[in-house]
């Protein structure tokens, strides 16, 4: 931008303004400014430390979760497997029951919700009812939890 040149009067005025002495700096202002700097630095360090601590907790939290049994499968997998077409012999039923029981145990171990576990229980009831109607096995199939 092109500035309009100042007139002679303005030059004189500007010179007067330029010659005005700088105001004295209050002696205690340094203490105040430096104190604020120190407090700010301490605050930033505290925030950084807290952030790091929170990040560490988040990063390591999976290691702190109760671990599910090694063979445990997600409830949905087990339920899906139970619906799959099959020939239900006594051995198959026992295997399915054991799988369902493991899935239920794993679900309870990780505090799964009732809604999530209910299909497993329904599956288990259905399996027991159907098997009791078709098998002659003398052994009762009790809950194995």
């Amino acid at each position: 931008m092109k500035h309009t040149p100042m007139t002679t009067n303005d030059d004189i005025l500007q010179e007067h303004l330029r010659q005005l002495p700088e105001a004295p700096l209050p002696d205690d202002l340094w203490l105040r400014v430096n104190g604020a700097r120190r407090r700010g630095r301490q605050r930033r360090l505290a925030v950084a430390a807290t952030t790091l601590a929170v990040a560490a907790v988040i990063a390591f939290s999976p290691l702190m979760q109760p671990s599910a049994p090694e063979n445990a499968q997600p409830a949905s997998t087990v339920a899906a497997a139970a619906h799959a077409p099959r020939k239900a012999g006594p051995d198959d039923v026992d295997a399915e029951l054991r799988a369902l029981d493991r899935a239920l145990q794993a679900g309870y171990a990780r505090n799964a919700s009732d809604a999530e576990l209910e299909p497993l229980w329904a599956q288990r009831r259905q399996l027991l009812a159907g098997n009791n109607a078709t098998t002659n096995s003398p052994l009762p199939r009790s809950l194995r939890i």
Partner: protein, 182 residues
Amino acid sequence: MSDPSDAKDDEAQLVRRARRGQEAAFAEIYRRHARAIHSLALRLTGNHATAEDITQECFLKMLQFLGGLRDGTPLRPWLKRVAANAAIDRIRRDRRLVAIEDDDAQPDNGPDPLLHAESLGLLRRLSPTERTVVWLHAMEGWSHPELGRRFGRSESWSKSIVSRTLARLRLELDEAHPHDNE
């Protein structure tokens, strides 16, 4: 004679050291620039307490905002810019709070910060807005569009303030020094 680029490098190093928390470096920067920054803030706001607040704010911002101050950036103009912006923000805020016209605004009633200026018959009875606009334009090189934008006004508003205020100051100058123009 020392090379100006050496001084700039030296200052860049000081800023880096200050940001790392070295108090001695911060103290040296303060020693070099605080008086000029405080003086500018006082001239713009006309208030001792506000000038001290602005000075503190400038030096703390210098440590905090890496983006606004890169290596090699001259420190004094940057600090002055921060101080001027802080002063304008306060003037705008105060104007909204008290809702007084610029022409009627007066400096605070505390110890007169412009005593030396008043001894020359200059800057007397100027409102904070007039004083700030004129000073930034005439002494710090701010353009009218820049001033208008920063105050949330137009370029012509800035021109009008400067023109009117300079006329008043010239009149006072003529009365105080009647032979200067001859």
